[in-house]
Every structure is written in C-alpha cells, then in structure tokens.
Point group: C2
Chain length 170, copies 2
DNA sequence: CACCAAAGGATTGCGCACAATCTTTTTATC
DNA sequence: GATAAAAAGATTGTGCGCAATCCTTTGGTG
C-alpha cells in the first residue's frame, strides 16, 4: 500500500490531467452554445482565425491553430460544404490552398460575438483570474512546444533511407 | 476593419483556445514518453486510476476520468487485449463490470514512476508554478462542470417525456 | 407476480487529432 | 534543362470523445 501523499502518480497531482479535464469541460460548455451556430468547437476555432485574419492558407491555419493537414483537410471540407468558406488553389503557387470566409461565414461572426461572454457568465468565472490563467497557459504551451521541438525522437529524419525509385520490392 | 485590441473574438484572448492548445501540447510531450510503455495518453490515465484505487468498476472510472462508456468500453477492451487489465462481470450485480489490473499492468507502474518528472524536466517547468496552475485549473473545472450541470439543455430530463413503449411516431 | 422505471455497459455514428504515406508543385543544384 | 530535395495538401488508418440508442439487470410499486 502506497502513501497517498507521496505518490507521484496520483491522478489529482497530474497537471496533464488537470489540463485535459479543464479543456474538455470548457469545450463541452462551448458545445452547448455552438450548437445554435451549427459549429463544432474546432470549426469555431477555424472561423475565429478567419474572422481575425481574413483569407488564410491551410499552412497559415495550421500554424495558428497547431493542427496538421490531416485534421484540417476534412474539417475545412465540411466547413466548405456548410457554405461558410471557400477553398481555392492559389494562382501564383499551385501547391497552396487559400481559405476565405464566404458572406455567410463572415456574417456568422455577429452571432458569435457574445459567445465568450455568455460562457464566462454561465460558469460564473472571474475575468481577471481568467486573464492570469490564460497568460500562464500561454507560457506553459510555449515551454512545452519548445521542448517538443528540441527532441526530434519520433520526428522524421531529414534523409529518408528509402528513395522509392531505387529498388522497390518486385 | 476591427480594432484588434477590442475584438472579443481574438484567438489569443480566448481562454478556451489557451486550454485546448496547452492540453494538446502537453499530451503530445507525454506521448513521446508513453510510446515506450505501449500506452496512449487516455490509456495512461486509466492505468493511473487503477494504480491508485486498485479494482474499479466502469462507472467508477467514468466518474474519476469524466469519460462515458462510449469512450471507455473500447479503450478498456484494448487494454484488456494488451494484457494490462481484466474485465469481469460482478457476481453480486450482473450489470457491473469490474476492471482490475493484471500482474503485468501493476508491474508497469514502476516504469511510469519517473514519467511526470521527466516531462516536467524536459519542458523546463517550475514545479511551484505548476502546482498553482493545477490548483487554478481544478477550480475552473469545478465551476464549468457545475454550470454544465445547471443547464440540462441537451441533458437528459429527469422525467423523460417519451416512455418508448407508449406512442411512438408511426 | 406483473410491470415499469432506473442503472450499468455496450454499440453505433460522427468528428476530431495525429502518425504515416502519397501526390503535386516548386525550388535548388548540378 | 535534368534531377533531386523540399514544400503544401490530401489521404489512410487508428484511437479517442461524445451523443444517441440499445440491451440486460436491478429495484421498486401496484
């Protein structure tokens, strides 16, 4: 039997679980309000980025939201199907896809304007404490991402050992 | 053109996005270490709960981790397939499924003991600040969950108005 | 006992996340 | 100008999260 006070693996002691639980809880509260707009939470984040920056490339969205193309591609396809944005190949660089809000997508912003306030009020949160918390989370994210960048353990090797044209299995 | 300083929808101002980004970043850092143990991050959380409490029911795990049976059922099936836990119907109540760590599952704990410390060190985080942050996140989660409980919008009514045997829509 | 609501899990379906791979286009480099 | 490396997205496959539904068992209530 372990001493509960010294257990380094106690669930309540894990910052990672506190983050995981808080993020899911807040996302869940947002989900109730977002249902009216016909958006999921990640779709809402994409629209936030578009409302703030106007047209963006997939790469730009990926950098802002920290999501890769495997997540963004189908998500953007669904938002295009919803008529909230358009996806067009860039004329100057055929690799790039430009994501632009449609009129309907831009108009949706007004219906989202009071959403953060409503969520904060519903949960009875103190705006000042939230600002501090947001600040601390930003620093945490920066530290963790810097650490992840420093360790390319699982990262792709710059020199791939199998150039697929050389000797494929016949 | 909006005044950036007054935009209530600015992405960098959203606590929800700060939480979402921080949670994914930290989970990603854990993932690198968890690969050695053959665990995903949610599977690691289940093992943490089992190491701390011993045998638990699915309901108990659901309460601790805030995950429903739709998430837990397949996750626990995979952990059983990995040989880390067993799922057995309770003898006294045939509805209940007891989740117990196997010998291999219990032994895995030792290999996880230094994991939180390694993650904190890799990210260069200050343990004291982490404790404060964890505390603040706990309070936030409690507030948000209380708010979600107060609004049974999508939630199931305590008195469901359609007992499915009475008059289904023909 | 019959009946009926509630509880505990499992299943189904959908939408993320993320790793790995692939295709197309661009850009160096020779 | 041919060729290789890199960049930008898309695709595939796996594993969550979560809503909705279903099934079985249990606990009343008449």
């Amino acid at each position: 039997m372990e001493l509960r006070e010294d257990d380094p693996l106690a669930l309540e002691r894990q910052l990672c679980f506190a983050l995981y639980a808080a993020s899911r809880a807040l996302t869940g509260l947002y989900r109730e309000f977002l249902g009216d707009l016909g958006l999921t939470y990640p779709q809402y984040l994409v629209m936030l980025a578009l409302w703030e920056h106007g047209t963006l490339t997939v790469k730009g969205l990926s950098r802002i939201l920290r999501l890769d193309s495997g997540t963004l591609s189908p998500l953007l396809r669904r938002l295009e199907a919803s008529g909230l944005l358009t996806r067009t190949r860039s004329a100057t660089d055929e690799r790039v896809v430009e994501i632009a809000p449609t009129r309907r997508g831009a108009d949706l912003r007004e219906r989202a304007l009071d959403l953060p306030g409503r969520v904060v009020r519903a949960a009875g949160l103190d705006p000042e404490r939230l600002a501090d918390l947001r600040q601390a989370l930003g620093e945490l994210t920066a530290s963790v991402e810097a650490a992840a960048d420093r360790r390319p353990c699982t990262g792709a090797h710059p020199t791939t050992p199998n150039p697929q044209g050389s000797s494929p299995e016949p």
